[in-house]
């Protein structure tokens, strides 16, 4: 009988165990259901919290974006530093890359030259659907994220903001990008030599509106803006006046060959090759020191790495007291101030460009090194070049001379003074001590010419003689010669090209990289 009762009891226990199991199972299911319900409720609440404007899960976008005036401050990517750790902030940026990995999505957000890593993980604040949504967003889309800034122990080498990452809580799409990009941005930023046969520069130019967005382009054009600003500031501090000169003119200033013709009502006119004539007229009007910044048009059919048909000219003209070196020193000092200013205030940009296009930092001497043409010829001859004493310097010779000067003086910037008269324009003042030479000078950066300048002839008669010597039609330059007939101060000047100076300062190799919308014989758009 004991056996029977124990059996019975076992059975009962089993039954009890079974019902316990069932109970547990029921409990578990109930928990699950409760969690699911909670989640649903949360989703609903999230939906309810979001502003009317955006819908997180479907991509219905409000294009005008001016529904509400929110004063929610947006932090720039470049300001995301460890000081903001644990703060909850809003950031607007582009999606540079996005990569899903299981329950997490890694994003790199980019604004201008700056990138930061962002992490979206399934958890309290983000659902699985949200993570999936983020991973599927197209690259280059502009998004707003609400995130907490977190410090990282290991530096994130691939981003500009290396000490922090964002833990994203909300994402909204402001402007979506099409899925297929004409040019992958990583390709545009990859250093040369690491890729396909297609000329990178051409590919980049074709898709310029995409290319302007890369970190390198941002840096280049910010630096270019700096050059322009430093040029203006330095000259204004030296007492110069900025003038505006006309670009539609009646006569070609430098010579007939390389000038664009435009139809002008019933006749035709030309696009200015340089502001030369007008700068000088201002000097004759006693402005003393003038400069101008404006487009220059040269119809040269040269397809080289350093010629454009339209570029920005920064021109200077100055009256002097006794010697044209006063002007030359003023110009070289202006250049030195520009170099110093760039070095002081644009280090971030210089480093950014160097990452993609490594080059030696730009070196110079103060005061600027001045060599004479005869010395240059002697140096070239000593290095094995055969050339005449009064011959002009060819481009390869200029480059070689630049290397020789760099070797001896360790400078990338210098002036070559006293060019032979025969190779200079007709309005160049001859050297009073030696009629075969002239009071003219060229300035070089990294062995390439950036400025051609001289003392100008300010006497109408001498000017006429020189023009006749060069077989120039006097009728065409009558107005020019006339401007010197009523008292003209002795003066000198020169002009630089903004794109070329930017290119050479950064050690780049094609002027199209430093012109936002370059123009050459084969390129007219964008």
């Amino acid at each position: 009988c004991c056996v029977v009762s124990s059996c019975f009891r076992a059975g009962e226990e089993e039954q009890q165990a079974q019902s316990k199991k069932a109970l547990k199972k029921q409990q578990k299911e109930a928990e699950k259901a409760a969690k699911k319900a909670e989640k649903q409720a949360k989703l609903v609440s999230v939906r309810q919290e979001t502003p009317v404007v955006f819908d997180v899960f479907s991509l219905r976008l409000c294009l005008s974006l001016s529904w509400i005036e929110a004063d929610r401050p947006l932090v720039r990517v470049q300001d995301l530093t460890p000081e903001k750790a644990e703060q909850q902030i809003w950031v607007r940026a582009r999606i540079h890359t996005s990569r899903a990995k299981g329950k997490q999505c890694f994003l790199v957000l980019r604004h201008q030259q700056f990138t930061v890593q962002a992490l979206l993980a399934v958890g309290d604040r983000a659902s699985k659907q949200m993570v999936k949504f983020a991973a599927n967003l197209t690259k280059e889309s502009i998004i707003d994220v609400e995130a907490v800034v977190k410090k990282v122990e290991q530096k994130i080498e691939s981003c500009s903001q290396q000490d922090v990452e964002l833990h994203v809580e909300r994402i909204f799409v402001i402007s979506q990008s099409e899925a297929r990009l004409p040019l992958q941005l990583e390709d545009a930023v990859r250093p040369e030599g690491e890729g396909d046969e297609v000329r990178k520069v051409d590919l980049i130019i074709i898709n310029l509106h995409r290319n302007l967005n890369t970190t390198t382009s941002q840096a280049i054009f910010r630096l270019q803006s700096g050059i322009c600003q430093l040029f203006r500031d330095t000259l204004i501090n030296k007492g110069f006046v900025e003038i505006q000169t006309p670009k539609i003119i009646s006569a070609a200033s430098e010579g007939g060959a390389n000038v664009f013709t435009v139809s002008y009502f019933k006749t035709s006119a030309y696009l200015a090759q340089s502001p030369q004539l007008y700068k000088q007229m201002c000097i004759c009007a006693d402005f003393d020191k003038v400069f101008c910044v404006g487009p220059v048009f040269r119809a040269e059919d040269s397809n080289t790495h350093r010629h454009l048909t339209e570029f920005v000219g920064l021109d200077i003209e100055m009256a002097f007291n006794y010697h044209y070196h006063e002007v030359m020193d003023s110009i070289t000092d202006t250049m030195v101030q520009i170099f110093k200013g760039l070095c002081d205030r644009f280090q971030t940009e210089i480093q950014t460009v160097n990452k993609q296009y490594p080059s030696e930092p730009f070196k110079f001497l103060e005061p600027t090194l001045r060599l004479e043409y005869k010395e240059a010829v002697a140096m070239l001859k000593a290095a094995g070049v055969e050339m005449g004493d009064e011959e002009d310097l060819s481009t390869p010779n200029e480059k070689l001379l630049g290397r020789l000067v760099k070797e001896k003086y360790d400078t990338d910037f210098y002036v070559l003074d006293k060019y032979p008269l025969a190779v200079r324009p007709f309005y160049t003042m001859p050297d009073p001590n030696n009629p075969k030479y002239s009071n003219s000078y060229d300035m070089f950066m990294r062995g390439e010419e950036i400025l051609s300048g001289a003392q100008r002839i300010h006497d109408a008669q001498l000017l006429t003689e020189r023009a006749m010597h060069h077989s120039i039609d006097l009728e065409k330059i009558k107005a020019y010669i006339d401007s010197f007939r009523y008292g003209a101060p002795p003066h000198a000047g020169g002009g630089i090209g903004l794109e070329r100076v930017t290119m050479l300062y950064l050690g780049l190799h094609n002027v199209r990289q430093t012109s936002m919308f370059p123009r050459d014989p084969k390129r007219l758009t964008p």
């Binding site: 110093k340 070196k363 110079f364 005061p367 090194l369 004479e372 005869k374 010395e375 001896k408 001590n433």
Partner: protein, 290 residues
């Protein structure tokens, strides 16, 4: 001065005119003082001449007037530096502004007396700030400096962030010369004043190396030992090599001056330093010693 005055104690009478006799007295007094000053200057000059031993290198010590510049022809430079190809023979020296090469400045002054030298000072972009005395250490800009071709020699000093002083001359055929002592030897040769006697030449080199390597740290045992040997050497003769002023004196004096504490130096050393100063070439060094 028991001169009878017309009115009261004033020097001037009622009309504001000075008494002519008083005026004459004042003028006599001025005249006497002027002659006294002239006498003092002459005696000072003579004292310097007597106490400063002969230095053949420079004939201008006897007259403190404009230096007699002895311009040897360019034939010397052609044989020393190679044929002139029409380019200015420019000696480029890269020096760190933290350690100005005093002996080279003295040699520069000597070169300027012998040749027409175009001197210029530049600051390289690797250095941010250079104190003003270093910018004017080669003297005022030459009037003709706008015409480089008129000069026989160029002396271009560039203040640069370099670890060792460096000289570049003809980069196609010469490697750079490093170290102040070596550059000093090069420049001294341009003056054609090297001792012909090999024994003297060796002694000179020995003194130069001793100064450069062992006078560097003030207060060290080596420093004290060198000062002692300097003192004993100068006890026997006016200059380190005997009767002749040489590069050894220039380099050693500069090292001693740079180390400072010259007022507590031994008697012979002080006398010798004074003689160096009296030569006039060390004038450029004084502003840099502060």
């Amino acid at each position: 001065m028991d001169h009878i005055r017309k009115d009261g104690d004033d020097d001037d009478d009622m009309n504001g005119e000075v008494d002519p006799a008083l005026k004459a007295l004042e003028e006599r007094q001025d005249e006497v003082l002027r002659r006294l000053y002239e006498l003092k200057a002459t005696v000072d000059g003579l004292a310097k001449t007597v106490t400063t031993p002969d230095a053949d290198l420079d004939a201008s010590t006897l007259s403190r007037g404009p230096a007699e510049s002895v311009f040897r022809g360019t034939a010397d430079l052609d044989s020393l530096l190679g044929k002139d190809l029409g380019a200015l023979r420019d000696i480029v020296i890269n020096a760190n502004p933290a350690h100005p090469p005093l002996s080279l400045l003295v040699l520069h002054a000597l070169l300027c007396q012998r040749y027409q030298v175009l001197s210029s000072v530049h600051v390289h972009s690797s250095v941010s700030v250079v104190p003003p005395p270093l910018l004017s250490c080669l003297g005022p800009r030459h009037i003709d400096s706008y015409a480089r071709q008129r000069f026989q020699l160029g002396f271009t000093l560039i203040w640069k962030d370099v670890s060792k002083l460096q000289m570049k001359f003809n980069t196609q055929s010469m490697c750079p010369i490093e170290g102040e002592a070596n550059v000093a030897r090069f420049l001294f040769r341009l003056l054609s004043a090297e001792p012909q006697d090999p024994l003297a030449a060796t002694q000179m080199d020995c003194w130069i190396d001793t100064a450069v390597f062992q006078l560097a740290e003030v207060g060290s045992k080596e420093h004290a030992a060198v000062l002692r040997s300097l003192n004993s050497a100068l006890g026997c003769s006016p200059w380190l090599l005997g009767q002749e002023f040489s590069l050894a004196d220039i380099v050693c004096a500069c090292c001693v001056l740079r180390a400072g504490q010259t007022t507590s130096a031994a008697a012979n050393i002080q006398r010798w330093l004074k003689s160096c100063q009296n030569l006039g070439h060390f004038d450029c060094v004084n502003p840099l010693l502060q």
